[in-house]
């Protein structure tokens, strides 16, 4: 009788243990953490939308709330301002935050593209070659990579900033500004560029000099948040990597999800979908890019005493290194 009881007891203990392990494996019992992500509604944010819609965040124990911002600059500001835990932004807002001494970390680059930025000009304003931009009003959002792209374009084409008339235009107003003729050209990004191409039709001159700039789309957070939530960062990155896999395996569904979130037509989104290499990495080129733009920014602010910071200190690679070691290619990280 005692022997039977012992066997039964062992069986019960084992089944409880196995049950616990199984729950642990599936992660369904992970304590749910609320994470607010500030997202700029652009195609390059697709991994976040997919992870959100497909429940990859939940699987990793993250209860995610997506907040939409018109630009990466705004999204990053929301992070810095404590409105969101994580935010998406191109390297330019990150660079500016770095120059300002904001305590932020880039935890991953979600996508890279050298065809993301374009200058769309109105032909009816006499613009048919780059040199024709001279003296023209060009709409641009300061503090965004749109401004940097315009600078880069003018520079390599031997034009000075003063040769054109830069007009501040909010990203959300960029399309209207050009369509209504408030400006002669705009330097902006997808989806505005695509929308303008469609709206202007043959009147649009598309200046697409992809050799001069590679846009990186990054996820950043405050250093405090990252340091206090390393596990959440890892879980977030796992969910994003799973989303990347999903995008490659089921691109149509991924496009549909993205189109729904950014309010863009599927056909229009499909036109530019292949421009973004959805690859979650941390490359040395990001550091170089940040430095490059920082030098530009410092020169732009004539008389500024600021120095180019060490942007390596603005990168948190431990999270990505843990979940996908080969994705990190930054010396010293």
């Amino acid at each position: 009788m005692n022997k039977t009881m012992t066997v039964l007891l062992i069986a019960v203990v084992l089944s409880v243990n196995i049950g616990c392990n199984r729950k642990g494996e599936h992660g369904s019992t992970k304590q749910q953490e609320t994470v607010i992500i500030a997202v700029s509604p652009q195609p390059v944010s697709a991994p976040l939308y997919v992870a959100f819609e497909k429940g990859f965040f939940e699987r990793e124990g993250l209860r995610v709330t997506l907040q939409s911002y018109t630009s990466g600059k705004d999204a990053l500001n929301a992070v810095i301002g404590g409105k969101a835990h994580l935010g998406t932004a191109a390297e330019t807002p990150v660079m500016i935050a770095g120059l300002k001494g904001e305590k932020i970390y880039v935890i991953a680059t979600l996508a890279e593209s050298d065809k993301y930025m374009r200058i769309i000009a109105r032909k009816d304003r006499g613009i048919s070659i780059p040199a024709d931009l001279k003296g023209k009003k060009i709409g641009v959002s300061p503090g965004t990579n749109g401004e940097f792209f315009l600078h880069a374009y003018l520079t390599v084409n031997h034009l000075a900033k003063k040769d054109v008339q830069a007009v501040d235009v909010l990203p959300k107003d960029m399309v209207d500004a050009l369509v209504t003729g408030k400006v002669d050209a705009v330097s902006t990004w997808v989806p505005h560029t695509t929308t303008l191409q469609h709206k202007l039709g043959s009147n649009a001159l598309i200046i697409d000099d992809h050799g001069i700039y590679v846009m990186t789309w990054n996820v950043a957070a405050t250093q405090d948040f990252v340091k206090s939530h390393p596990a959440q960062i890892e879980n977030f990155l796992r969910a994003v990597l799973r989303a990347n896999k999903f995008i490659k395996e089921r691109p149509d569904e991924a496009r549909a999800i993205t189109a729904k979130h950014i309010g863009m037509d599927m056909p229009m989104l499909s036109e530019t979908w292949d421009l973004y290499g959805f690859n979650t990495v941390l490359n040395q080129s990001l550091i170089l890019s940040l430095e490059d733009q920082a030098r530009w920014m410092i020169k732009k602010e004539a008389g500024s005493a600021r120095r180019t910071p060490n942007f390596v200190d603005f990168v948190y690679a431990d999270g990505l290194k843990t979940v996908q070691p080969e994705a990190v290619r930054i010396s010293g990280k």
């Binding site: 890279e112 050298d114 880069a152 520079t155 390599v156 084409n157 031997h158 034009l159 000075a160 992809h210 050799g211 001069i212 700039y213 590679v214 490659k248 290499g277 990495v281 490359n283 040395q284 080129s285 170089l288 890019s289 490059d292 030098r295 080969e326 994705a327 290619r329």
Partner: protein, 485 residues
């Protein structure tokens, strides 16, 4: 199963080889990227011709290299494509940098040119680092593939080794055990058989060579047993024969002894007969002579009855004398020496026939004598025998007005059998056994004269020649005497 594992190993090895090849190519790409970076840096610093040219050569080489690679993993191929695109952009930027440094319009704005150069240089560095990161990542991925392929191949090999060695070892152990058991059974069996128990059988029924060997040994034992039994029987027979031979020898010795005794007795008897015959002749001659003298000198004084008595006395004594002569002949035939020579039996027969014809020319008897019949034997004895036989035939055909006597030869069982055939009175075969006894007669002396010694004499002559003699006949159908020599 082994086909599946073999195929899996083959494909795994092929995949590994492919991965090795790709790994080697990716390492060359990584090396090219590093070289391009070096040339870019060198050109940015010194603006010299050498790094410019080397950049372009290295770029072409790398482009060809990338175009020749097809990676199975789509992620790796995507990275490779990206490296290709980046290198293209790099080349574009580099050429723009070169063009910016060597402007077609030397009178251009130097400050703008410098700014453009700075911008292009910045981008070039970013691109090259990006490309370097991608090449490094691609190499890591391919290296991982190689490691995985190696692990997979190693696992397969391990699988093959485990799943072939273990069963083989089990089979080997079982086989060894089976062989050892079988050999032990065979050894024990052969020991038992070797100890002389030929009735023992190993009786192993295993379907292998040892089973066959067991069968062969059992079969051999069976044969051996059979041979050994035969040998025993043979031995027994030899012993029996020996015993028989000894018995025969003993009997032979007894026989010889009896023969010797018999011969001695016979000699004594013959001597006795001879002497009796010889000694009896003298008184007989006296009886006959004095009976004749009595008849001649005193016949007139005797009446007819007296004379008749005397005539009977004389006839009796003469017959007795004849009997004594025949007995002497018989005795001589038995005692006389034999000399074997070729004898012309046909000629003897003809001589005898002529003699008989002359003795009574009034008789009408036909002699049919086959010519050329010869035999090995004693001519004198054979002639005597044939005279006896012809004489008998002549005698027993005498009461018929015509007679026929035939001498010839027939073959029985390949042997010559001589015969003398007549068509005389014949005899009743019931008494055939009496014919060759001395003094045996089937007819009264009144019918046919004779002493009854003739056929006994003939039989003795034939027997002395090693032959046989017999008679066939029937009453009034004649008789045929057959003899062999």
């Amino acid at each position: 199963m082994s086909l599946f594992v073999g195929l899996a190993l083959f494909f795994s090895y092929q995949a590994m080889e492919k991965d090795w090849k790709n790994g080697s190519l990716v390492r060359r790409i990584r090396s090219s990227v590093t070289e391009l970076n070096t040339f870019v840096q060198s050109y940015i610093h010194y603006h010299e011709e050498r790094p410019k040219r080397q950049f372009l050569v290295e770029y072409d080489s790398m482009t060809q290299l990338i175009a020749g690679i097809r990676l199975r993993n789509p992620e790796q191929q995507r990275l490779l494509d990206k490296i290709g695109l980046n290198s293209e952009s790099m080349k574009d930027l580099f050429l723009r940098l070169v063009s910016n440094y060597e402007p077609s319009d030397p009178a251009g704005n130097a400050e703008l040119l410098a700014k453009a150069e700075e911008r292009l240089e910045g981008q070039l560095l970013i691109r090259s680092r990006d490309m370097d990161a991608d090449a490094s990542r691609l190499r890591s991925m391919v290296d991982d593939d190689i490691r995985r392929a190696q692990t997979r191949t190693f696992t397969l090999i391990l699988f093959v080794v485990l799943f072939t060695t273990i069963p083989l070892t089990i089979v080997l152990i079982r086989t060894m055990k089976s062989i050892t058991t079988s050999l032990s059974t065979l050894r024990k069996g052969t020991e038992v058989i070797g100890s002389g128990n030929l009735g023992h059988r190993i009786g192993m029924t295993t379907p292998d060579e040892l089973g066959d060997l067991s069968d062969a040994v059992d079969h051999m034992t069976e044969q051996l047993q059979a041979v050994t039994v035969s040998k025993d029987e043979l031995q027994q027979e030899v012993e029996e024969r020996k015993r028989a031979e000894e018995e025969i020898k003993k009997l032979n010795d007894d026989l010889k002894h009896h023969v010797t005794q018999l011969e001695e007795a016979n000699k004594e008897l013959e001597a006795f007969s001879y002497s009796v015959s010889h000694d009896l002749r003298s008184p007989l001659r006296s009886i006959d002579g004095f009976s004749q003298a009595l008849l001649e000198d005193y016949g007139g004084k005797l009446d007819g009855e007296g004379r008749d008595y005397l005539q009977r006395v004389r006839a009796g004594s003469q017959r007795m004398a004849q009997l004594i002569d025949d007995l002497l002949n018989l005795s001589r035939v038995a005692r006389s020496e034999m000399s074997r020579v070729p004898v012309d039996l046909s000629k003897i027969a003809k001589d005898i026939a002529n003699g008989l014809r002359k003795s009574d020319q009034e008789r009408n008897v036909e002699f049919v004598i086959s010519g050329g019949l010869t035999a090995q034997g004693d001519e004198r004895l054979l002639r005597a025998a044939m005279e006896n036989l012809f004489s008998n035939a002549w005698k027993f055909t005498s009461i018929h007005p015509r007679g026929r006597i035939e001498f010839g030869m027939a073959r029985r069982d390949g042997q010559p059998v001589y015969f003398i055939k007549d068509d005389g009175v014949g005899f009743d075969m019931t008494y055939v056994g009496k014919l060759f006894g001395p003094f045996q007669r089937l007819h009264s002396p009144g019918d046919f004269p004779g002493t009854g010694i003739g056929l006994a004499t003939v039989q003795r002559i034939i027997h002395r020649h090693g032959g046989r003699i017999w008679i066939e006949g029937a009453v009034e159908k004649g008789a045929t005497v057959y003899f062999t020599l």
